[in-house]
Symmetry: C2
């Protein structure tokens, strides 16, 4: 499936990148789980990022955006357990304090630091637990910490999400490393997502920005519903040129962009697939739409329908619920033109049931991974959304964040 050579090392695989991770006791008071990570380039970088479009933005997101406006970043510090969102002026001070502290410990300016947080919203950051760990965080920097870095940004994720690939450009090997986090059980509307990408190509910032935008549109935005992003979603890419390969020609840019998009799409799929409580990985593919917007509306309506997702959880190949969701998507779809294939079997033709035996359809969805193919038969536009079922365990898991609040109360951060 892939033409890329997988290599070890994650975000530390590209030359000149180091990582470190420690536990501050944000995720659990016993401080047995890694929850603070640092990624650092020994060389200056060009950098690009995309951020949540939520009007409620975490303090750290605002600081990241500001630092990217001011110039390029070459260090990323990220914690899990607290999102530093809805924390006002104090939250801004906390985020900046991390940047300033790093600039005291590393040969960089505060504005070269990106600061990221993920976790519970609305609680002050437990800075008394975080800042004292910065010395050991920086002391721990090394080239073999890709995995601990990936672990430190996990929240409800059940698996580390990290990889690295090597690609040949101008006859020389270059590397792209990545780590990301989503959630153990994805509601695609809500997954707080962090993704950090490192590469040792040299590349102009404006070109890098275009590559990042294109990659995100075809990966992370295919598991997110219309602007429905969390307060903290962040994708950051750092390119330090340490491979001595400069990506400039259209051919080289094409190769780099394809590789970048590939690792982004792999990470996006991993986010969806992760989690004990998710039992299905479903690809919702809409073809034959009259416009791209129509394809997006129809695929997202199906992918976010609670009733459709519940039926997948029950191994119920319920095409009636699927066409129902297509019908209310907001585009002028035509019932009598709609074809639906479920896991490769024709379930609906021209808005009507086919003679595919219902037992065959039920059998076909008794797998972890299947595709819903919806042909609107109105035009040439397509769109794909990757999503999951909705399980009773998802709801149960999300019923309460008491544990975090109780800890904040013990820390004197809330009443």
């Amino acid at each position: 499936m892939s033409n890329y050579q997988y290599i070890d090392g994650g975000v530390c695989a590209p030359k000149g990148f180091q990582g470190s991770a420690v536990s501050c006791g944000i995720k659990n008071p016993e401080a047995t789980r890694l929850d603070l990570a640092l990624i650092y380039s020994t060389e200056p970088c060009t950098s690009a990022g995309t951020f949540t479009t939520n009007r409620v933005k975490a303090a750290c997101v605002k600081v990241c955006q500001k630092h990217l406006e001011m110039g390029d970043i070459r260090a990323i510090v990220a914690n899990s357990g607290n999102a530093n969102a809805c924390t006002g002026a104090a939250g801004m001070e906390d985020a900046k304090a991390e940047c300033y502290r790093l600039a005291e410990l590393l040969p960089i300016s505060p504005a070269e630091v990106a600061v990221c947080s993920t976790g519970v919203i609305g609680l002050p950051m437990p800075m008394m637990r975080i800042l004292p760990k910065f010395d050991s965080l920086v002391e721990g920097l090394s080239h073999d910490k890709g995995m601990p870095v990936a672990q430190a940004i996990m929240t409800s994720d059940t698996k580390e999400k990290t990889m690295a690939v090597e690609v040949e450009i101008q006859g020389k090997p270059v590397r792209i490393g990545v780590c990301c986090k989503g959630a153990g059980m994805i509601n695609p509307n809500m997954a707080t997502m962090l993704c950090f990408i490192t590469t040792d190509v040299g590349i102009d910032r404006n070109v890098l920005e275009l590559c990042v935008k294109s990659g995100v549109d075809h990966s992370f935005n295919c598991i997110t519903i219309d602007g429905d992003m969390s307060t903290n979603d962040t994708v950051l890419v750092l390119a330090n040129g340490a491979s001595t390969v400069k990506v400039e020609s259209p051919d080289d840019i094409f190769i780099f962009q394809q590789a970048l998009s590939y690792v982004m799409l792999e990470m996006a799929k991993h986010i969806v697939q992760d989690g004990e409580r998710v039992t299905k990985f479903v690809t919702v593919k809409v073809v034959g739409a009259e416009t791209e917007e129509e394809a997006i509306l129809a695929s997202e309506a199906v992918a976010k329908s609670s009733l459709v997702k519940s039926s997948w959880n029950g191994n119920d190949p319920n095409w009636g619920r699927i066409i129902h969701a297509v019908g209310y998507c907001g585009a002028p779809v035509e019932e009598e033109k709609i074809d639906i294939d479920i896991a490769g079997l024709p379930a609906c033709r021209g808005g009507l049931q086919t003679d595919t035996p219902s037992d065959s359809l039920r059998e076909a969805v008794q797998v972890k991974d299947f595709e819903i193919l919806i042909n609107l038969n109105r035009g040439e536009y397509n769109h794909v959304v990757y999503t999951t079922d909705l399980s009773p365990e998802y709801v149960d898991y999300n019923r309460s964040e008491y544990a975090y609040w109780n800890q904040a109360k013990a820390d004197g951060l809330t009443s």
Copy 2:
């Protein structure tokens, strides 16, 4: 709370209306549950209706709309267990066959019949079970069948939803009766909703249509998300003038419209409240919006967020998730202006947590019925949405419709 005098009789309470209900074995093969209802006015009526905006419309909805275009209706026949949706030309023939059969048994034309269905989508109607019951259905018509009619249209509803009120207009009593169905466990996006209203006032059709539209906008549309209606949603109002009171003057129209809106809002709330698997009835009230659209976007984003609804199920007063949903609603809300009260307690002011003890907030949501009040502090527009929590049992309940499909297979209606 109400200025209206409640009376018995449901849709048969207004003068000149009769009802009947039988079991055809659509809902269960043993035919122990009522699943076919008839409402009939002995006098001609003026009539009005509103229907789903889903592009995938049930055959019965298309027939209803056609008949209302052709003139007025005075009989409603409704079944539960099969939605007659995505059934193509055969479904249209089935719906029309019901109208023609009724016109043979009653002194009305086929076009005076509204035909409604609710239940599973995509299966042919079991007409071999339905049409043979029409004789006994018509023979059973009487003035005391309001309750059986309400029972026959139930699907996953756990309670009958019916009421009648008496109002004085021009010094004389007039009556409005109603029955409706939603679902036992409401996902407000998805509830298939039928509502039949009878009244013995006389009223011009164009006035009645305006009254119905206004009532629906402030009731059923407050439990439905932006066009996200089912294939079958239908509200029908029949006015037969049997009270001899003609509603014509602005004052009389006002009184009638208020009463009509009142019964619609009561029914809408009952739909939301119904169901063992729903543990909370939550009123999401947004005030201080800059535009009406902003108020609607913000309230609906909160009311349909899986994470917010899951937290309510867990008695978790999670204002962080609420402001997060407000942030992605699509309107240009301003984080630092947002105030949130939960069950009467200030939880968030200016986008930040208050000093309300978290124990007090938790205590406050340990009730079945509470309000989330969100002040955007940007203008003068308000909107209210009535919604529920999301429970693990909801998902479990909706995992499979196998039982219906197995019955259809036994009937030879699917393969």
